[in-house]
């Protein structure tokens, strides 16, 4: 009996229509990869978001495709404070550490962030974070804010 087939087809259609967007979204098993690029004041910002079941890896590229500095951030018990540490690239400047921290706040997940935005570019950093968060909300990776809370 071909009873199962229409359901599968409907499901496939639903999935493929959800994935249609200007950005590239690839799904390989349990991993969803989203990549997109924007231009801000003549600077190209590239974003790569890798969604694993319990973690999110994000790369932010500023003009170049260098990996940059890597930070790990996670909520730590008992008070749900966020801890951030630099994994690679030194911690003399913290471009990206703040972004990593706030991503944990917004998603509730462990975050690994690789970022090559140059030092002393707070405007660029803020723009990048804004675009990234917008995309995360769009993808449904952020958790719902409690009503009445301020960020």
């Amino acid at each position: 009996m071909a009873r199962e087939e229409p359901d599968v087809e409907a499901l496939n259609e639903a999935i493929s229509s959800a994935l249609v967007s200007n950005d590239e979204v690839k799904e390989g098993g349990g991993v969803q990869i989203t990549c997109f690029s924007e231009v801000v004041n003549d600077v190209a910002l590239h974003f790569q978001i890798l969604r694993l079941p319990k973690q999110i890896y994000v790369w932010i590229g500023c003009d170049s495709a260098k990996l940059g500095r890597i930070y790990a951030a996670a909520p730590t018990r008992p008070k749900d404070m966020i801890s951030v540490t630099s994994i690679l690239g030194g911690a003399s400047d913290n471009t990206g550490a703040g972004i990593a921290r706030r991503l944990v706040l917004k998603t509730g997940l462990n975050i690994i962030l690789a970022c090559n935005i140059p030092k002393n570019s707070p405007m660029l950093e803020a723009e990048a974070e804004k675009m990234l968060v917008q995309k995360l909300i769009q993808l449904g990776y952020t958790r719902a804010k409690a009503e009445g809370s301020s960020s």
Partner: protein, 124 residues
């Protein structure tokens, strides 16, 4: 106009395979100065290692492999990273490797499975 939006510069590949009965997701990315490899069975990145080639005075290159996040001193993970950075070096690239391994077991068979899956799908 589409031409004003730059092309995404990072090449990447993602695949899923079975190693010893465990579903393993592997992602490979090629950045300007690094290769990133993620192999996970646990839904998270796990231990992150950094492996780089050091050009010394002698003809043979030396490699520096260290765990930068997660379990330190896990010999099988270090061996896995070492094998891959050596492969990268032999293929002619002097880029460093960042590899994250979130595996359910650190048996030789699992690590061998990871190494061969990565080499088969390598970006170098």
């Amino acid at each position: 106009m589409d031409s004003s939006v730059p092309r995404f510069p990072v090449t990447y590949k993602s695949l899923s395979l079975d190693i010893k009965g465990n579903k393993t997701d592997v992602v490979l990315c090629s950045y300007d100065d690094h290769f990133l490899v993620i192999a996970t069975q646990i839904g998270a990145m796990g231990t992150i290692l950094h492996a780089r080639k050091e050009e010394g005075v002698s003809i043979e290159p030396t490699f520096n492999v260290s765990a930068v996040f997660g379990k330190r001193d896990e010999p099988m993970l270090l061996a896995c990273a070492r094998q891959l950075i050596q492969h990268i070096s032999i293929s002619g690239s002097s880029r460093s490797l960042v590899i994250s391994l979130g595996l359910k077991d650190h048996s030789a068979e699992t690590l061998k499975g990871v190494v061969s899956a990565v080499i088969e799908n390598r970006l170098w």
